[in-house]
């Protein structure tokens, strides 16, 4: 147990109703010949999924009694994944389709919190299908649409044939503002190479190093407090580990509900290793990931995606973590 090669990858498909989730799902299922997939669908989903292993789920969000107020998990997912792991035939992957109005956080948190799920499966990536025509309106009208973009590792911007170039650029800017990490793929009718959405291992700390995301310090226009935005910080001065841990853990404890996702690569004074972390709300996966590569500049980079980030004094807090 616990070995990566035995963990079945789980891809989470989010997106508003009508964006093209079912089209994408059917594309995955018809193109991957010889692979065995289980598909977990919600009862309000669109019909017509062509697979012999389709499981109905209820999207039950459970609170955990672990003193963490925003720690919610998908109870149905724990039950279904545990059941699927008892199967005699090995699954190549599991795909979870969420309802259009689902918050992806409980799905992601399930993989942090439930030991059985974490032992036998791994969250591969969150893929959000967005409708290029309607996304802007949906982002303004629904928290859930913002969260789906904020949590995405990949945004499949679909139906681009129905918008002109300037409108497409505007939608892309909006996505980038919410989530600078998500890879944006343009499609019509969800035509995408499956290698771009499956087996991404996006939640693996090693991948954060491999992909070297764009941690540019963001200049930040003032948005509505309620909008999801991102802020990132870079420091060439090594950080003081104790100060950072103190600041960061307090920050997540008090503001974890508004902080949706965090990622970072950190350079601590007196440490030879690079420290990498990524988190969902208050839950965090962090580890030293080996020495800094030779000839590469050492610096600390971190990014926050969330609401009300302006009010958290993040810049000041981060500056205070620099070693003297």
């Amino acid at each position: 147990m616990g070995e990566t090669n035995k963990q079945v990858p789980v891809t989470v498909l989010t997106g508003f109703l009508g964006a093209g989730k079912t089209t994408l799902l059917n594309r995955i299922l018809t193109e991957q010949h010889g692979k065995k997939y289980a598909v977990i669908v919600n009862e309000f989903g669109e019909q017509g999924i062509d697979n012999d292993l389709v499981v109905d789920a209820d999207e039950e969000v459970f609170e955990m009694n672990n003193g963490c107020i925003c720690c919610t998990v998908r109870g149905d997912l724990i039950r279904i994944l545990s059941g699927l792991m008892k199967r005699a035939d090995k699954l190549d992957a599991i795909i979870v389709e969420t309802t259009g109005l689902a918050d992806p956080a409980p799905v992601a948190q399930t993989f942090f919190v439930d030991q059985d799920v974490a032992d036998r499966t791994k969250l591969d990536a969150i893929v959000t299908v967005a409708d290029a025509v309607h996304l802007s309106t949906q982002l303004s009208d629904h928290h859930e649409a913002e969260e789906q973009v904020a949590f995405a590792d990949v945004v499949l911007l679909n139906k681009i044939d129905l918008v002109d170039e300037s409108r497409l650029d505007a939608v892309k800017d909006r996505i980038k503002k919410i989530n600078p990490f998500a890879k944006i793929i343009h499609t019509t009718k969800c035509g995408v190479s499956l290698s771009e959405i499956l087996n991404l291992d996006a939640f693996n700390l090693k991948r954060i190093l491999d992909t070297e995301p764009d941690f540019l310090t963001s200049d930040h226009d003032h948005e509505h407090d309620d909008d999801v935005t991102s802020l990132s910080f870079v420091s060439d001065t090594p950080l003081d580990m104790e100060k950072f841990q103190d600041w960061f853990s307090k920050l997540l404890q008090t503001k974890g509900q508004d902080i949706l996702r965090t990622k970072g690569i950190l350079d601590f004074k007196g440490e030879n290793d690079r420290y990498v972390f990524q988190g969902v709300h208050m839950l965090m996966d962090a580890s030293p990931m080996g020495k800094w590569p030779e000839g590469k500049e050492r610096n600390s980079r971190l990014v926050f995606i969330g609401r009300n980030l302006e009010s958290m004094n993040l810049k000041e807090g981060f500056e205070n973590c620099k070693s003297a």
Binding site: M1, L53, V54, V55, D56, D58, E60, F62, E63, M64, N65, N66, V73, G75, D76, I78, R79, I80, G83, L84, K86, R87, A88, D89, D114, Q115, D116
Partner: protein, 347 residues
């Protein structure tokens, strides 16, 4: 077993392994039920195999997916599967489909004197004896477990937020009351004397209610989820998995509140994954995550013997025949040991 650190137990087969039959089926064993002196075993490929003394096992192709739950109604086996089917299977292998829910799984099955129960999603389906149509008992969230009390008068249904306790009056009408505790409740059981109700939770702990006054409390301190737990024959102890020791809580008197459990340690310090009380004794069979199985007397922890050595696959089921003559052990790797408990001269 006397610990001998210079010796690797897996190199030596136990006497139980030597005189029993071992099967390496390679299909995950999901559950088992004792029917008289036979044991019916459910597998991850949907098959059910019946083990009887002196006979080879028979394979019944019951479900197309996993056998998620197993129980019995008299001499018949009841199974629920991830193919959405609720089946009644005779020991001769005759299959009778009671219900089919399609892509919705049948998570739990149980029965009492001809009353058959299965759950799918948040609904309990209850077939009264000789009735064709089930009664539907609906709950606010997906059901984690079901259990009848020893008289079949009460049906406990665990779910998110607590347990719904259904009670049957003498005109066969069911009414419900709620036992509330925050969090997600999974498996539920009554104590054998019907005085207590115990659930396992999504967190690494158990919750219990004393039914006469509905007081409740929890049992915590586990390193893992408690998936297997059972009362010994007279309810003196609740034996539990979820730790590197078999944790046995005292349930005589007013229950475990304020009292310490007896912890039975095992060689190798592995996680206990399955516990099965020895019929009519204060003793348990304990299965570990490395496949080994021990028999211990609860109040004399030095009195422990090894039944099965390592298989490197976690024990998922242990079943003892009604006459206590044979034991079946199954694990996630599909290894089965079916052996007599006593030597010829010990009988």
């Amino acid at each position: 077993m006397k610990a001998d650190s210079n010796k690797f137990p897996e190199l030596n087969k136990t006497k139980f392994e030597n005189r029993g039959k071992e099967f390496k089926l390679g299909i995950p064993v999901t559950n088992a039920i004792t029917i008289g002196n036979s044991v019916a075993v459910g597998f991850g490929d949907g098959t059910v195999r019946i083990f009887r003394s002196g006979q080879i096992s028979e394979v019944i192709k019951a479900h197309s997916g996993v056998v998620l739950s197993i129980s019995k109604d008299g001499e018949d086996i009841l199974t629920g599967g991830d193919d959405g089917r609720f089946l009644k299977i005779s020991l001769d292998g005759e299959i009778n489909e009671i219900a089919n829910f399609g892509s919705r799984w049948v998570d739990h099955v149980t029965a009492y004197n001809g009353s058959l129960v299965c759950t799918s999603g948040n609904i309990v389906y209850l077939w009264m004896p000789n009735k064709k149509e089930p009664k539907l008992l609906e709950h606010e969230s997906t059901i984690g477990g079901v259990a009848f009390d020893s008289k079949g008068r009460r049906l406990a249904v665990s779910r998110y937020g607590g347990v719904t306790l259904w009670k049957k009056d003498y005109s066969n009408k069911w009414s419900s009351s709620n036992l509330i505790w925050k969090g997600s409740h999974n498996k539920v059981i009554f104590s054998t004397d019907d005085r207590f109700l115990v659930t396992s939770m999504q967190e690494n702990q158990l919750h219990f209610w004393r039914l006469k006054d509905k007081t409740d409390s929890f049992m915590s301190g586990y390193g893992a989820k408690v998936k297997s737990f059972a009362f010994v024959y007279d309810s003196k102890f609740l034996v539990t998995s979820g730790s590197n020791e078999a944790i046995c809580w005292p349930f005589d008197g007013n229950g475990p509140e304020g009292r310490k459990p007896i912890c039975l340690p095992y060689v190798g310090n592995k996680l206990v994954t399955f516990v099965e009380p020895f019929p009519n004794e204060n003793a348990i069979f304990t299965g570990l995550s490395d496949g080994s199985v021990f028999l211990s007397e609860i109040e004399k922890s030095t009195n422990t013997i090894i039944i099965r050595s390592f298989t490197e696959s976690e024990v998922t089921t242990i079943a003892v025949t009604e006459d206590c003559s044979s034991i079946l052990i199954g694990d996630i790797g599909g290894n089965i040991l079916w052996t007599s408990i006593w030597d010829e001269e010990e009988k």
